[in-house]
Amino acid sequence: MSFVFLIFLPVLAALFVPLLFKNLRQIHTGWFVLLVPVILFIYYATLLPTTAEGGQLVSSFQWIPSLDIAIVSYIDGLSLLFSLLITGIGALVVLYSIFYLDKSREQLHNFYVYLMMFMTAMLGVVQSDHLISLYLFWELTSISSFLLIGYWYTRDRSRFGALKSMMITVFGGLMMLGGFVLLSIMGNTYSIRELIAQAPDLASHSFFTWALILVLLGAFTKSAQFPFYIWLPDAMEAPTPVSAYLHSATMVKAGLYLVARFTPIFAVSGTWMWLVAGVGLFTMFWGSFFALKQKDLKAILAFSTVSQLGLIMSLLGASAAGFHIEDASHTVFKYAAFAAIFHLINHATFKGSLFMVAGIVDHETGTRDIRKLGGLMSLMPITFTIAMIGSFSMAGLPPFNGFLSKEMFLTAMISLTEFDFFSMDVWGLLFPILAWIGSVFTFIYSFFFVFHTFAGKHKPDLLPKKAHEAPIGMLVSPAFLALLVLVIFFIPNQVGDWLIKPAVVAIQPFLYVAPADVDIHVSAWHGVNPEFWMTLGIFLIGGLLFWTLRKWQRAYDRFPDNLTLNRLYDNFMYLSEGGANRFSALYMTGFIRSYLVYMFGFLVVIVLSTLFLTNAFVIRTDNLTPIGFYELVVLLALVAGTITILIAKSRLIAIIALGAVGYSVALFFVIFRAPDLALTQLVIETISVALFLLAFYHLPKNSKTVERLGFKLGNAVIALGVGVTMTLVALSAHSQKVLPSISEFYKETVYSEAGGGNIVNVILVDYRGFDTLFEIAVLGIAGIAIITMIKLRLSRKVGQHENK
């Protein structure tokens, strides 16, 4: 079976969702949808034994073979782990949403269609081996996330949050596309596997650093790293199942996936290690620090997600260090990738359950404001238990899985100080310090989240609803996740063997060949070492700070609002819009004169610069005809007529002078032996002057007297420029005739072939009769248009402009 098509199963199923929603109103549509992730999860679980032994599965679908574009599903340890997370948590979220969203009040068909779209997109991202299809699915996650955040589209905040996340993630996605294109040019292939195989050659390419930075921009925007994390807290306007699924367990991990997947290519570079580890760690500190400022349960969780993603990101950065050490399997860096994947799994479990808890609290009390909540412990005992397990795991307490991965995180960060590449020996000490401070704040906000919601005094008068325990169906998913949190603590090595080690091989193929080579054994007790003291310090200092939280939490309010990144984003959006507006108002004056000045100005600049930069200006004097007396006389008349037009006081004189110019042109035609032209020119000039006089006669009275054309220097300069340009172009064109005229043919054959004597007329009607046909058409159209313009009078409607 070609499992590449399984990626599209959710979106195909989504086609039936509106049908089911419209026709089977009595059954919640979610029950049908639930089948899809469950089936997929079971299928992907059957692939586990293959990857656990280090095997890979490839299935491809040729999409545009002539451009070498295909959708390739490549399943190894890393993509299988993500696929299981996506389908597994997806199933739990769908189950949760069945109880969270009301079937009679909500537009479920929209919701589940978007959600299924997202699931396809996410599976595509993690399984794609082809760069272009990876980008395609990547943008599909942005779009479906946009739709899901804006699900309650009648609310302003939803639309704002959706737009903001769209702007930031699509910006990153486009940058990433640039990086992908560079990569495919460097390696001459779109396949990630083939790129990894030629990784050492890529590193010396001049595009390498550009590709690295562009791909990282994509990863950082999607995974909400500093300073791009600002979209994530605003995305909390989405329904809670969406927040739990997209914005904690899956989509925000797409960036982590990208970093992990590209580590074998980019890890050779110090820039990569510094950026991934440094930005990740700073994000971890920043997110945990500002989580305590939040008043909204989901905002706390959003900042905590930002912080935890930063933690995983920094571990992935540290795993790149293994690339630079000979015999790395004997050093501590082998922990980093393991710890990253381990924490990724743990985070998906506990953060998913915490979001669902926040949704339950919101659903059962009507508010998510932590200042109004409190004392729910006795009213909602099951929810409290789940929240406690999730929070304690997040804080890194035993016996929960967060403890294990946090220990490994500290180990990896401490070992970074021993790394002596890339000036790590100077700045390396910052890593464990930031990691420790971040962990302390993580500890505090985890406790803040659970105890300020469930402990303390109950304030029933502040709550919109009377608080009570949630229905059992809503509790199933978070309870299951909480159970996993516990279970993973006790069987970390089984999880490691089945899920983590195959993924580690995909991240660090330079260290390990098969999953069995990863000789890491997780144990809860490491003995007394620096990590132990650091953890102890986290518990003590964190506990102390939490105890005194009320006293110092107000300090957060002192932070100036206009220095935040959100304000920066708002100002940037406002300025770019207003700036673009002001810029176009600057040159779009509405005066036709301005536009003509632009056009003539550019014409002069472009033609003159081309003429002189390419040395095209040449004057030859050997092909000239002699100057004649009559020509000079007519020329004098023409120039005199033109000057009269320019200085004429009244328009009447200008019109008559134009006639004089026209007749001099006719005289030129006579002198230069063009009888037909002279005839036509005389007739047409007469008619034109008559028409001009007609238009002149109908001029409004009030402007008849103000006639004199005032001298304007700017206009004169432009006009002089155009005149000089034309003269120069004419001179050099005449001096550089490359080929003889084709007219010899006309002259020779005019009588023998066409049977005529007047060569011009024969050309017009015989040799080039088509020109004449359409010239007649032009004249006809002009005549019809003139009649229409004079005859057609549509009554004017008053005030029809919609803008008024």
């Binding site: 509405g590 005066f591 036709i592 004169r593 003509l596 003539f600 092909n623 005809t625 100057i627 020509e631 120039v639 033109t642 037009i645 200008a654 134009l658 110019v661 042109v665 230069f672 032996r673 063009a674 009888p675 032209l677 047409i684 034109s688 028409l691 001009f692 238009a695 001029l699 409004p700 206009n715 004169a716 432009i718 006009a719 002089l720 155009v722 005149g723 340009t725 034309m726 003269t727 004419a730 001179l731 005449h734 005229s741 006309y746 002259k747 005019v750 009588y751 004597g757 007047n758 011009v760 050309i763 017009l764 020109d771 010239e775 032009v778 004249l779 003139i786 313009m789 004079i790 402009h801």
Partner: protein, 115 residues
């Protein structure tokens, strides 16, 4: 002769552009008239001003003595087309006077849509 004609054509273009940049509608149309005169003369000059006989077959004239007929045919077409366009413009200007009561281009800016 061609050099003198080139300068004269440049002069015609200059005058035409100067008129087109003015704000009176009728002067703009006069400018386009000058512009087409300049263009027609340019075509004629670029075809070469040599030749001693008009392009009409006559006895006793060498083939090389005829003036080049092709530019003349092109100009003839161009004259008719520019006449059609000019007459259309003039009637358009005439209608604009009738409807708007002005021939000042600066007053014909359409609807102000900026706040």
């Amino acid at each position: 002769m061609e050099i003198i004609m080139s300068v004269a054509i440049g002069f015609l273009f200059m005058a035409a552009v100067y008129l087109i940049l003015s704000k009176s509608l009728i002067r703009i149309i006069i400018g386009t008239g000058l512009l087409s005169h300049g263009a027609h003369l340019l075509i004629l000059t670029m075809g070469g001003l040599g030749g001693t006989a008009p392009p009409v077959v006559a006895d006793g004239v060498q083939i090389t003595d005829y003036v080049d007929p092709l530019p003349q045919a092109l100009i003839l077409t161009a004259i008719v087309i520019s006449f059609a366009v000019t007459s259309f413009f003039l009637v358009l200007a005439y209608r604009a006077y009738q409807e708007l009561g002005t021939d000042d281009m600066n007053l014909m800016r359409g609807i102000e849509d900026r706040d």
